[in-house]
C-alpha cells in the first residue's frame, strides 16, 4: 500500500457524472455508471443528450456553490440525466434540441431540489424520479407546439443493433431492463443485467422477480402473455421490485414479499395510467413506479416496519451490511440514562419485574448492593444498618431540573412497608430532553437537592433508604413522561456501564446482573481537522506513511478521511464508536476492526463483543454473494469480534464466515486516542509530533 496522490477535481466531477448513470438502477458506483454510459452509446444522440443534461445541471449546481456530498451522491443529478435521455430519445442533436435539453435539465434540477425538500420535510420520503416524470411530461406536452423543433430534430429511434432471436419472455425482460434507459434493446438489456449481476446480485434477482411477477399477472388478466412480454411499460415492475425489495427496505425475505406485493398491485396502475395518460399523448414512464414505491414506503414507515432502511448506501448489499451491523450494534431506543449510583450494584428487579414492575410501571429498575455471594446484608439482616445499600450515595442519572421532592418519610424497619406513601422519599428530575426520571425510597432527610435545583449527571441527590413500599433498602429508578410521582413509565435504556466485566454503551440489563457505571467521560480524542500521520508496515516491512484527517459530513457526523475511504465515527453515550466504512481502505478498515468502540469513561479492565460490517473483511464480489445468502437465509452471521481491554491495550479476536480469523491489538492513549495498532499482518504506528 502506498500513499495515493490527491485526486484531481476533474476526477471527482467525472465520478459525479458516472454516479448519475448508476443511480438510475439504484447503485452508487462510478464503474457501474461508466459501463452504463458505454452501453447508452448504442444510441449516441441519446448518450450525448443525457451527458449534456447532467453536465448542465451539475455545472449549474456547482456554480451555485452547492455542497460536495450533495452533488457527489448522484441522487440529485440522476433525474436530470433521465430527462436528458428522455429528450434524446425523441430528438436528435440539433441546436434547437440542445436548447430544449438545457431548459429541461435545469428545470429538473430546480424541481428536484424543491421537491426533495418538501418530500423529506413532510413525508420523510425521497422523491425518486418524480421530477423526471413532471418535466418529461411537460416537454412532451409543450413540444406539440414547437413545430420548428419537430421538423428539425424528430427522428425515428433508429435500431442500430440487430435483434436477436430469443424467446419472448427473455426479450421482454431484457428490453424492459434497457427501457429504463430509453434503449429498449435486448443486447443493451443483457449488458445491464450482467453489470447488475456483478455489482449487486440482490438487485439483479429483484429485477427478475419484479418483472416476471408483474408481467405474468398482467398476462393472466389480458389473456395474452405474448402481449404482456411486449409491453415496454413493464419496466415499472423492475423498478418497483428493486426499490421495495432492496433499496428502501433492507433486503430480506420479508422485503422480497413486500416487493412482490408492490409489483402485483402496480399492475393495476401501470395499465390504468397507460389508458389515461395516453389520452393526452403522454408516455407512461416511471409514474406507476413512483406512485407505488412512495406509497408503500410511506405506509410501511407509518407502521414502523423494522426493515425500513435507515440509510441508503451504494447498493442493497451495502445497506444490508450497514443495517445488520448497525441494528445489532446500536439500540434505537431514544432515552438513555446513566446508572444512579457509583460502584457495583445488582439488579434486584428489572423491566416487567414480577413484583411491582408491571403494566404502566413496567419500565423500572430496582437496585441493591450485594456481596460476592449475592447477599444484600451482613449479620442477621434484621436492622436497616445491616443492609449494604443503606445510606449509600444516590447520584443523578441525567442533567436536568429537580421538579419534585419528598424527604420526610421514615425509613421502614425491615419487615414493614408503607403502602400509603408507596414511593417513599423521592426526587423527580426533568431532563433537558423532556422526559422525567423518578428515583424513590431514599433515606429520610437525606436529600441534598430541592425543587428547582439544576443537577448534572452524577450530582449527589441523597442517600439510599427504605422509605415507602420497600422491603429492603434499594434504589428504584424509572423514566416517565410527566412530573408526578408514579406516572406511567416510558421505555428507556441504561448507558455506559459494565455488566460483570462486559461493557455496554447502551443496554437493558436483566435481573441479578451486577452493574458498574463507568465514570464520566473526558473529551473525544479526535477533533475536527486533526491530522493523524501513520507509518504502515506489512509483516514488519515499511509500506510508507499515510495521513488521516478528521472531517465532518453535512449531517454533522465526523469521519476519518484517508482520501480513498471514509470511516464514520462519533460519540455515543460516553463512548467513541466507529459507525461505518465507506470506500476501500486497508488502513481505515483495520482501524475499525481494531477499535469498533471505546468507552471514554475511566475503566481498566473490560470485555465486549461486537458485530462487524462485512465490508471490513471481505472483498466486494464475495461480500455481495455472502449478503445475498444472508438476506435470503439469514446466513451467514455477520463477523464478530471479541474484545478485551486491559491497562491501555485493547486486543480483539475476530472471526467471520468462511473461516476468517485473526487478532487485533490497539494501544490506547487518553490524550491522543491511540499510539499504534495491529490487525493481522498489518501494523500502523502513529508518528510522534503531529499537528492538532
Amino acid at each position: 500500500m502506498s500513499a495515493p496522490g490527491p485526486q484531481t477535481a476533474l476526477i471527482s466531477h467525472f465520478k459525479v457524472l458516472l454516479n448519475s448513470f448508476s443511480r438510475v438502477y439504484f447503485l452508487g458506483k462510478p464503474w457501474v455508471g461508466a459501463i452504463f454510459l458505454l452501453l447508452s452509446l448504442a444510441n449516441p444522440h441519446l448518450a450525448i443528450s443525457g451527458l449534456l443534461a447532467v453536465v448542465a445541471g451539475y455545472g449549474f449546481a456547482y456554480l451555485m456553490g452547492m455542497g460536495k456530498e450533495f452533488l457527489e451522491s448522484g441522487v440529485y443529478t440522476y433525474n436530470t440525466l433521465l430527462v436528458g435521455l428522455g429528450v434524446g430519445s425523441i430528438y436528435r442533436l440539433t441546436p434547437l434540441s440542445v436548447l430544449i435539453l438545457l431548459m429541461a435539465g435545469l428545470l429538473t434540477l430546480a424541481i428536484t431540489l424543491a421537491l426533495s425538500r418538501v418530500f423529506y420535510a413532510y413525508l420523510a420520503l425521497p422523491i425518486l424520479s418524480l421530477p423526471f416524470v413532471v418535466v418529461i411530461g411537460a416537454v412532451s406536452l409543450a413540444s406539440g407546439k414547437y413545430s420548428n423543433l419537430y421538423v428539425s430534430s424528430l427522428y425515428p429511434a433508429a435500431n442500430l443493433l440487430p435483434n436477436p432471436d430469443w424467446p419472448a419472455w427473455a426479450t421482454g425482460y431484457f428490453k424492459c431492463l434497457a427501457a429504463i434507459f430509453f434503449l429498449p434493446h435486448p443486447y443493451v438489456g443483457l449488458g445491464i443485467a450482467l453489470v447488475l449481476l456483478a455489482a449487486s446480485p440482490i438487485l439483479f434477482g429483484l429485477s427478475l422477480t419484479g418483472y416476471f411477477t408483474g408481467s405474468l399477472i398482467s398476462g393472466l388478466m389480458t389473456g395474452s402473455f405474448q402481449q404482456s412480454f411486449l409491453n415496454l411499460n413493464h419496466f415499472n415492475f423492475i423498478l418497483i421490485g428493486m426499490a421495495l425489495g432492496g433499496v428502501f427496505l433492507v433486503p430480506s425475505r420479508v422485503s422480497l414479499v413486500v416487493s412482490l406485493v408492490g409489483v402485483s398491485c402496480s399492475v393495476l396502475l401501470v395499465d390504468a395510467v397507460q389508458v389515461f395518460w395516453s389520452a393526452y399523448g403522454l408516455p407512461v414512464l416511471t409514474l406507476p413506479f413512483n406512485l407505488v414505491a412512495l406509497t408503500f414506503v410511506y405506509a410501511l414507515g407509518a407502521l414502523k416496519f423494522p426493515q425500513i432502511s435507515r440509510r441508503i448506501l451504494g447498493s442493497p448489499e451495502e445497506s444490508l451490511d450497514f443495517h445488520r451491523s448497525v441494528a445489532l450494534r446500536f439500540d434505537p431506543c431514544p432515552i438513555g440514562i446513566n446508572l444512579p449510583f457509583s460502584g457495583a450494584w445488582t439488579v434486584w428487579q428489572g423491566f416487567e419485574g414480577p413484583w411491582t414492575h408491571q403494566g404502566n410501571w413496567r419500565h423500572a429498575y430496582d437496585f441493591i448492593l450485594a456481596d460476592g455471594k449475592g447477599q444484600s446484608f451482613t449479620g442477621p439482616g434484621k436492622r436497616l444498618e445491616d443492609y449494604l445499600a443503606y445510606k449509600k450515595p444516590v447520584l443523578s442519572p441525567i442533567a436536568g431540573q429537580v421538579v419534585k421532592t419528598v424527604d420526610n418519610l421514615p425509613d421502614q424497619e425491615i419487615g414493614q412497608t408503607d403502602s400509603r406513601n408507596n414511593w417513599g422519599n423521592l426526587v423527580v428530575i426533568r431532563s433537558n430532553f423532556g422526559y422525567h426520571v423518578e428515583i424513590s425510597h431514599l433515606a429520610k432527610e437525606s436529600l441534598k437537592v430541592k425543587e428547582g435545583d439544576w443537577v448534572e449527571r452524577g450530582s449527589l441527590l441523597g442517600l439510599c433508604g427504605n422509605s415507602g413500599y420497600s422491603p429492603q433498602p434499594h434504589i428504584h429508578l424509572q423514566v416517565q413522561a410527566g412530573p408526578d410521582p408514579g406516572s406511567a413509565t416510558l421505555d428507556f435504556r441504561l448507558t455506559s456501564y459494565l455488566s460483570g466485566q462486559t461493557y455496554f454503551t447502551l443496554g437493558q440489563p436483566g435481573k441479578d446482573e451486577v452493574l458498574t457505571p463507568l465514570s464520566q467521560a473526558g473529551p473525544e480524542p479526535f477533533v475536527l481537522d486533526q491530522e493523524i500521520e501513520l507509518e504502515c508496515f506489512h509483516q514488519g516491512t515499511p509500506k510508507g506513511t499515510r495521513n488521516l484527517v478528521v472531517r465532518m459530513d453535512p449531517e454533522g457526523t465526523l469521519y476519518f478521511d484517508s482520501t480513498t475511504g471514509k470511516l464514520y465515527f462519533g460519540r455515543v453515550h460516553d463512548g467513541h464508536c466507529h459507525y461505518s466504512l465507506q470506500g476501500q481502505d486497508k488502513l481505515l478498515s483495520s482501524l475499525f476492526l481494531a477499535l469498533p468502540r471505546l468507552p471514554l469513561g475511566g475503566c481498566n479492565d473490560y470485555v465486549y463483543e461486537e458485530r462487524l460490517p462485512l465490508n471490513l473483511l471481505y472483498p466486494g464480489w464475495l461480500r455481495r454473494w455472502l449478503l445475498l445468502g444472508s438476506a435470503l437465509f439469514d446466513l451467514p452471521q455477520s463477523p464478530r469480534g471479541v474484545y478485551r481491554y486491559k491497562r491501555g491495550v485493547l486486543t480483539g479476536k475476530i472471526s467471520g464466515p468462511l473461516g476468517r480469523e485473526f487478532n487485533t491489538e490497539i494501544h490506547l492513549d487518553s490524550v491522543v486516542g491511540f499510539t499504534k495498532f495491529q490487525v493481522g499482518d498489518w501494523t500502523f504506528e502513529r508518528k510522534q509530533h503531529e499537528k492538532t
Binding site: G343, K392, P393, R457
Partner: protein
C-alpha cells in the same frame, strides 16, 4: 445453594482474651491449627520453620472490601499499593491484578514496579529523595509525581526544560488534621502558607502545572475524622488554586494510614473493638468530597493504603526451641524467629496462637527470639500454658512492614509462602543461603586464607 452437610462438632474455647470470663483467665486458649486449610504442622514440614505465610484469599478480600467501600460512595477511585509496606513480587502482583496502581518512594521501588510490568502512568512517585535521573525517567514515562520540597520543585523545572514540555505535578502537603505527631517534615505546609507560595512560584515560572494534591497524615490513624479534616483542607486549597491560579485538580491523593487489626503496645481494648472499620474512613472522605466538588469535574481519589490491606493476611509460624525460668519466676521461651524478622514487634503485640490444644493453666510468659541480643523480645508477657519444646506458635498480623524491614542479621531469613485460593501453596521467596548473603561481597585475594 444447599450447603454440604457437616458433622456438628464442639470446639474448645479458642477465643482471645475477650470472652465471657474476661481477660487474664487461666484456661483461655488461642489455637490456630491451620491457615486457609493448610495445617501448621504440614506447612512447617514442607517449608521449615520459621515460616512467613500469606493468604491469597485474605489479601483479595481485604482489597475488595476497601475498594467496594470507596467505589460505592465515589465514582473515581484508584488504590495505589504502597510498595514499602511489602514489596515481595507476588504480593505486589496480587495487588496489581486486583487493579491497584503502585506507590513508590525510591528509585529502587520504581524499578520494581516497572519490573512487574507496570507502565509509568500507573506509578505514583512520592518521597523526599528523588534523584535527578529518577525524576527524569518518571516524567518521561508519564508517572504521577508528588513534589516534596522547594529544591525538588527546581529539579522538576529543570526536567521540564530538558523535555521541552510543561509537566504536570502534584504537591504533597502537610497539614494539621488533629493528629499527633503531625508529619510535618514531608511536603509543603498548608497552614503556614508554604504550599501556596510553592504553587504561586510554579505559576510564575510556567514550566510546571499543578494537577494534584497529596497528603499522608500518618500511619495507623485511628480517627476517621482526621481524614475528613484533611480532605476539607485540601479541597479548600484546591478551590483557591483553581480560582486564583487556574489549576484544575485531576486527583486528590490522601496517602495511606488506615489501621490494621493489630494491637499497639499499651492498647487496652483489642483492635476489633477499638478500631473504626474501613467503611467509616470511606464515608468521611467521600461525604466531604461531595460537599466541595461539582459532578462534572470530580478528581480521581487516590489512596495509598498499605498496612490495612496486607497486615492481617500475613502470619509467621515460629517453633519454640527451648524454655527456661527467669529469675523473677516468669516462664521464658526461645523461639526461632525474633526481631530480625519482626520489625513491627517494636510497636505491636501480636496475636499469638498455639498450633494445637494444650492442657494446663496459663501463666505469664516471655517469648524471646534467637538472636544473641538483649532487645530480641517478641512478647514480654503473654498468657500461655506450659508448652513443650518444638511447639509451634502462629504470630499475626505480620504482613505489613516486616518483609521490607527485616534485617539480614545473625541468621538466615526463612521461606515465605502464599496459600493460594485453589488450595496449593507457592513459595514466593526462598529462604536465604550463605551464598545469597555473600554474593555481592568481594574478598581481596591477599586476604584469602589459602
Amino acid at each position: 445453594m444447599k450447603e454440604p452437610y457437616q458433622k456438628p462438632s464442639v470446639r474448645k474455647l479458642a477465643q482471645g482474651s475477650h470472652n465471657k470470663y474476661g481477660s487474664g483467665n487461666y484456661y483461655g486458649r488461642k489455637v490456630r491449627t491451620e491457615i486457609d486449610g493448610q495445617t501448621i504442622a504440614g506447612l512447617v514440614e514442607r517449608f521449615g520453620s520459621p515460616l512467613f505465610v500469606y493468604s491469597e484469599r485474605q489479601i483479595k478480600e481485604k482489597l475488595k472490601e476497601l475498594k467496594t467501600a470507596l467505589t460505592v460512595r465515589y465514582p473515581k477511585v484508584e488504590l495505589a499499593w504502597s510498595y514499602k509496606t511489602n514489596y515481595l513480587q507476588a504480593i505486589c502482583a496480587l495487588m496489581h491484578q486486583g487493579g491497584s496502581l503502585a506507590e513508590v518512594v525510591s528509585q529502587m521501588e520504581y524499578d520494581k514496579a516497572l519490573g512487574l510490568g507496570l507502565k509509568g502512568k500507573e506509578i505514583i512517585f512520592n518521597g523526599p529523595y528523588k534523584p535527578m535521573d529518577a525524576l527524569e525517567t518518571a516524567f518521561a514515562q508519564g508517572a504521577i509525581v508528588n513534589l516534596d520540597h522547594q529544591d525538588e520543585l527546581s529539579d522538576c523545572e529543570q526536567v521540564a526544560t530538558q523535555l521541552g514540555r510543561k509537566l504536570k505535578v502534584g504537591l504533597r502537603l502537610n497539614l494539621d488534621a488533629g493528629i499527633y505527631p503531625q508529619w510535618s517534615r514531608f511536603g509543603f505546609n498548608l497552614e503556614s502558607g508554604q504550599a501556596w507560595e510553592a504553587a504561586k512560584r510554579i505559576k510564575a515560572k510556567g514550566l510546571l502545572e499543578v494537577n494534584g494534591l497529596h497528603c499522608h497524615i500518618g500511619t495507623y490513624i485511628m480517627e476517621p475524622e482526621a481524614y475528613g479534616t484533611a480532605t476539607r483542607k485540601l479541597l479548600e486549597f484546591a478551590a483557591k488554586l483553581e480560582a486564583e491560579l487556574g489549576y484544575k485538580l485531576d486527583y486528590l491523593d490522601l496517602g495511606g494510614g488506615f489501621p490494621s487489626l493489630s494491637r499497639l503496645k499499651g492498647a487496652v481494648l483489642p483492635p476489633e473493638v477499638s478500631l473504626p472499620n474501613l467503611e467509616s474512613y470511606a464515608e468521611t472522605i467521600t461525604s466531604t468530597m461531595y460537599r466541595y466538588l461539582k459532578p462534572q469535574s470530580l478528581p480521581t481519589l487516590y489512596l495509598e493504603t498499605g498496612r490495612a490491606l496486607i497486615d492481617e493476611a500475613g502470619y509467621l509460624i515460629t517453633t519454640l526451641h527451648a524454655s527456661k525460668r527467669l529469675l523473677d519466676g516468669r516462664k521464658a521461651y526461645i523461639a526461632d524467629a525474633g526481631i530480625n524478622l519482626l520489625y513491627s514487634a517494636f510497636w505491636y503485640r501480636y496475636n499469638i496462637e498455639i498450633e494445637k490444644e494444650v492442657t494446663g493453666v496459663n501463666e505469664p510468659s516471655v517469648i524471646y527470639g534467637p538472636l544473641c541480643m538483649n532487645i530480641d523480645v517478641v512478647d514480654e508477657g503473654v498468657l500461655l500454658p506450659s508448652l513443650s519444646r518444638g511447639t509451634r506458635l502462629v504470630l499475626s498480623p505480620v504482613g505489613a512492614y516486616n518483609q521490607t524491614q527485616s534485617m539480614q542479621f545473625i541468621g538466615y531469613r526463612p521461606n515465605v509462602v502464599l496459600v493460594r485460593e485453589n488450595g496449593t501453596v507457592d513459595v514466593i521467596r526462598e529462604k536465604e543461603t550463605l551464598s545469597d548473603m555473600e554474593s555481592r561481597e568481594c574478598l581481596p585475594p591477599d586476604l584469602k586464607l589459602h
